[in-house]
């Protein structure tokens, strides 16, 4: 790790990391609490010859980055709940057409305009199921600015590896917390570039015929291969088809290419899990409070542990099951009405051991909040 130290807020760190990962095209629309990212990129991208576009809305922003990605650019957009709702249509298009792109959602309180300047983690299931139709999705998150850096680079790498949109689900507290970040040297974190086809011009190129390893080499728009891209179910040429075999095959491919790699995509951190009787499962800014509680109660002999999830989707069922195998209680700490709670309950053999510690009033959940809920769960009163 280099000594290049920065003192930045999470949104700015995400921008630094995106540029590190090779971002060269951003389109967005102003929205609290993500706007700093657009402002900063409007300065930084053209300095590197990249393009920053402020579009007429989030629908157009999402469409513009998909168009740019097809020409070979590394692309991103950033928004919050209401804008993320508008992006769902084109997010589904990126899933169907397998276009690499990164969508940052700095979560605020919802539904609707909600609580624009306050924290929430209410869009977890929207990231999973916001766009219509069966599909798989990748959604990542982080709790500290150092992790925002590495997880943002991961997001670009995963989007290229699996040719998929990746959602970065940050939250208002992570986005606006200023803290120290050590910037890695160029090359220190490996980057995944666009996988280009080796098929030469004049030879029949099948843009939607996966290789044996499941990856799908691309040809940039403007390159030697002229092919069709459509949001309709399509055959290996990218041409529309409603042949049941083609439809079934493509849908399975879209889901399997993500779900079958859930363990490779899983990012998490663990604290004191070896002998934990009570495992807290948390993510994003809520995990900061959970970690504080674990660190402060351990010296008193309380067998608390923390599993901090950084990959929310595809949900790391197997890892959650293994890490919670010895727990008497599993407590999901999150700032919503229990969205990851449901996924945890589905993952473990005994869902009656799983409890929720949450806060949904726009304030960050505190270690004391979690502690009070734990006492209730343990039957000790508040």
């Amino acid at each position: 790790m280099s000594q290049h130290m920065m003192f930045l807020q999470g949104n700015e760190v995400c921008v630094e990391a995106a540029l590190y990962a090779g971002l060269d095209f951003f389109a967005g629309y102003p929205i609290t609490p993500s706007t700093e990212m657009a402002e900063m990129l409007s300065i930084r991208l053209p300095q590197n010859g990249g393009k920053f576009l402020q579009m007429e809305d989030e629908l157009a922003s999402m469409c513009a980055i998909i168009g740019a990605s097809l020409t070979g650019s590394k692309v991103m957009t950033a928004t919050s709940g209401p804008g993320f709702s508008l992006m769902q249509e084109a997010l589904g298009y990126a899933v169907m057409t397998e276009i690499p792109c990164v969508i940052v959602n700095v979560q605020r309180g919802g539904p609707s305009t909600g609580n624009p300047t306050h924290v929430s983690q209410g869009d977890v299931n929207q990231a999973r199921w916001g766009t219509h139709g069966d599909h798989a999705i990748v959604a990542l998150t982080a709790s500290s600015n150092q992790d925002v850096f590495s997880i943002t680079v991961d997001a670009f790498n995963i989007s290229e590896t699996y040719r998929t949109p990746v959602v970065l689900l940050f939250d208002e507290v992570v986005g606006h917390t200023r803290e120290r970040v050590l910037a890695p040297e160029p090359g220190e974190i490996p980057l995944v570039g666009r996988l280009h086809t080796s098929v030469r011009g004049g030879v029949d190129y099948h843009p939607y015929l996966p290789r044996e390893d499941g990856r799908l080499p691309m040809s940039d728009f403007g390159g030697v291969h002229r092919y069709n891209v459509t949001g309709l179910f399509h055959d290996m040429w990218g041409f529309p088809s409603n042949n049941p075999q083609v439809v079934h095959g493509l849908l399975r491919h879209l889901v399997d290419k993500i779900e079958n790699h859930a363990n490779e995509i899983a990012r998490y951190k663990e604290y004191y899990l070896e002998d934990a009787e009570c495992v807290l499962i948390s993510y994003g800014s809520a995990a900061r409070s959970a970690r504080h509680l674990v660190n402060s109660r351990r010296p008193r002999g309380e067998r608390l542990g923390l599993l901090e999830l950084q990959t929310l989707w595809p949900f790391p069922d197997q890892i959650v099951r293994e890490k919670c195998a010895g727990a008497k209680y599993i407590v999901v700490v999150e700032m919503n009405m229990g969205q990851i709670l449901q996924a945890v309950k589905a993952a473990v053999p005994d869902p009656s051991k799983v409890f929720l510690a949450n806060r949904v009033d726009g304030d960050l959940i505190t270690p004391t909040d979690i502690r009070n809920i734990l006492r209730l769960i343990w039957g000790k009163g508040v």
Partner: protein
């Protein structure tokens, strides 16, 4: 070269109804491209959803068949990344001006170098004949059984007011004019809009007792006049054809290159 060299024969026959005007637009678009001697690999065709939007699948260019109304937003991303490409955006009237109306006026305002071809058949054909924002007051449609009380847009006036630097209107009857206007639109540096009045005998024609495809095309001959003709003064209900706007304005992508220069100087 013939038109056949520009299409993907594998995907024919096309899905348009007999008598549909869209094939005439495709034919003349390809002839215009042939006249200009453009390299197929230098063209990207971006379309949305609807009958007209299927045009992109049939042509042997880079083709991007996107979401209803959003073609111009996708095209903006393509053009900003690869400005050397010719980006042509065929759209339907509902696609361009109802669900895509906001993207349409903002693309015009930016004056980004895209060629928008609005194939105006005044109806949603693919879903079976509902009224569009171009059907016009007093027309009939499957969703206007008691007559349509929505007023239509004037595409030319809208595009010009929004800032498009090339705006034209023609019809599927006036094929030589269509071909020439499309050539000028593609060559123009800036946002170009070509409205092509295109018949839908299956829905708009049938619902409004306009007869066959041939009758509808004849009505284009009889009810339109070249821009600035005297007949228009005597018969204001006639629709003008021709190039309404053609001016040199700073083009968006070229302007952005100046932004890059400025940013690099610090």
């Amino acid at each position: 070269m013939s038109v056949k060299d520009y299409i993907r024969e594998r995907f024919f026959p096309h899905m348009w109804c007999p008598g549909c005007g869209h094939g005439i637009v495709l034919n003349n678009l390809l002839r215009a491209i042939e006249d200009l001697g453009l390299n197929k690999t230098g063209i990207v065709m971006v379309s949305g959803i609807g009958c007209s939007s299927r045009i992109s699948g049939y042509v042997d260019f880079h083709s991007l068949h996107t979401l209803h109304g959003r073609a111009l937003a996708f095209a903006t991303g393509v053009k900003m990344s690869r400005p050397e490409l010719n980006v042509i955006v065929p759209m339907g009237d509902g696609d361009a001006l109802a669900i895509g109306g906001n993207h349409f006026i903002h693309a015009a305002r930016r004056n980004i170098d895209l060629t928008a071809i609005v194939m105006n058949n005044r109806v949603y054909g693919m879903t079976g004949g509902q009224y569009s924002p171009l059907s016009g007051y007093g027309t009939s449609a499957t969703t206007a059984p008691y007559t349509n009380i929505d007023h239509g847009f004037d595409i030319v006036a809208l595009a010009a007011a929004a800032g498009a630097s090339f705006v034209a209107r023609t019809t599927t009857y006036h094929v030589m004019e269509l071909r020439n206007i499309v050539k000028r639109a593609i060559t123009h540096k800036g946002f170009s809009v070509v409205e092509v009045m295109s018949q839908c005998p299956t829905y708009f024609g049938r619902k409004n007792q306009m007869g066959s495809a041939v009758d509808m095309m004849r009505s284009y001959k009889e009810n339109t006049v070249p821009l600035g003709s005297k007949e228009k003064q005597e018969h204001p209900e006639l629709i003008e054809r021709g190039v309404f706007v053609e001016k040199e304005l700073p083009e968006y992508r070229a302007e952005y290159d100046r932004i890059i220069e400025r940013a690099r100087k610090g």
